[in-house]
């Protein structure tokens, strides 16, 4: 019994094939290399931004895509066009030409507490300003929850667009000539970069 001559023909059978062209669906995403790091941006079909997350490696990227699949819709597809507005605004912001974002956001990936923290942050802390974890906790009527606020900000699904980089530790101490800016999803260097950019002092040259 020798079936190899038959299967060999099928192995050679490699027609010119192209990947399918699929329409934009429930969630469109793109990964963007920016001055602060690799960012995964995702929008819903209605144009609201649901994710702007630092994805240093493909594992982190997969984890965020899985979150989108579980909590928004499994119809997650790579499409750049629906993200044009967000990408343009991000580029303008990172080059210091814009101070605000007009793209609508959707905090569907945030928990209830996270949403109250992030909404409070957006309402209270403007461009170039900063606050501390304790102050923000007090501002949302949870004065003892500064650590929880820190955790909530750490899991911010909309980095940069919801400015969690404007929240600093209370001490603000200088350790070894480096300002302690606290933790950040994109790393302390990215946080420092954004703060310097917003302070308007030679934006960008400190990186």
């Amino acid at each position: 019994m020798n079936a190899s001559p038959i299967t060999a023909v099928f192995d050679d059978f490699a027609p010119a094939i192209l990947p399918p062209v699929l329409p934009e669906s429930d969630v469109s995403y793109a990964v963007e290399d920016t001055a602060v790091g690799r960012l995964l941006l995702a929008v819903r079909a209605d144009g609201r931004l649901v994710t702007s997350a630092y994805v240093a490696d493909s594992d982190t990227e997969d984890a965020w895509l899985q979150r989108l699949s579980d909590h928004v819709s499994p119809r997650v597809l790579r499409h750049t066009r629906p993200l044009d507005t967000a990408r343009r605004e991000l580029a303008a912001y990172l080059s210091g030409k814009a101070t605000t974002f007009s793209v609508p956001v959707d905090l569907v990936l945030a928990s209830d507490f996270q949403r109250s923290v992030l909404d409070g942050l957006r309402a209270r802390v403007g461009y170039g300003a900063s606050t501390t974890y304790g102050e923000l906790a007090a501002a949302i009527d949870r004065p003892r929850a500064s650590r929880a606020v820190g955790t909530a900000l750490g899991g911010n699904p909309l980095c940069v667009f919801v400015p969690c980089h404007r929240v600093l530790p209370a001490g603000g101490s200088v350790v070894g000539g480096v300002r302690n800016v606290g933790g950040y999803a994109g790393g302390p260097a990215a946080k420092e970069y954004l703060l310097t950019l917003e302070a308007g002092s030679s934006g960008g040259s400190r990186r």
């Binding site: 038959i6 059978f13 399918p20 969630v27 699949s69 579980d70 819709s73 959707d106």
Partner: protein, 185 residues
């Protein structure tokens, strides 16, 4: 990739306008893009093998569109490749039926003849033509086995039959092809 979270009722908070909209996730499906990236070659190969190079692209495209539409309703994340190949197979059969409906029906023989599959321009001693001339079920089974690389259980699912029947169809097809080869000598 194919993570199954069992019956963890993760309530979605819906959009901010409509907090009452809850969607209960029974299965954790991978993002659709990972399916496309992992399996588009298999789907395209199967579509070309079943429907020929003229219809192959359309069939693959149609299969992906149908899969995308049905994806959120899937109740199991197991064997997503098999699911996609089954859809592709169904689309190819639909394409054959549509092609038969559109041909001129003056010649009644064209109704009973097996749909012609234009084979690749390969030095195969006309094997491809003989595969195309096999009875429908045998051709489908043999293509699913050797082009789509499905096992007999997968073929049985795609053809809506039993694994034993799939084994039989493949073996009959191979026997016919071998016989043809003997005659040629």
């Amino acid at each position: 990739m194919e993570r199954l979270t069992g019956a963890t009722h993760t309530g979605e908070r819906g959009d901010s306008h409509n907090r009452t909209a809850y969607r209960f996730i029974i299965v954790s499906l991978p993002p659709f893009q990972t399916l496309v990236d992992a399996h588009w070659r298999d789907v395209a190969r199967l579509a070309h093998a079943l429907a020929g190079p003229n219809l192959g692209d359309d069939v693959a495209q149609q299969a992906w569109t149908q899969a995308l539409a049905a994806y959120p309703r899937l109740t199991s994340a197991r064997n997503l490749r098999g699911w996609l190949l089954t859809i592709t197979h169904r689309c190819a059969m639909d394409a054959h039926r549509a092609a038969r409906r559109t041909v001129a029906h003056e010649d009644p023989a064209s109704l009973t003849a097996a749909p012609t599959v234009d084979g690749p321009v390969a030095h195969d001693d006309g094997l491809w033509a003989r595969v195309a001339a096999l009875p429908d079920r045998q051709r489908e089974a043999v293509v699913l086995k050797y082009v789509a690389d499905l096992d007999h259980r997968g073929i049985a699912t795609a053809l809506d039959t039993t694994p034993a029947m799939s084994r039989r169809l493949v073996s009959d097809a191979l026997a016919t092809l071998r016989l043809d080869r003997e005659e040629l000598r």
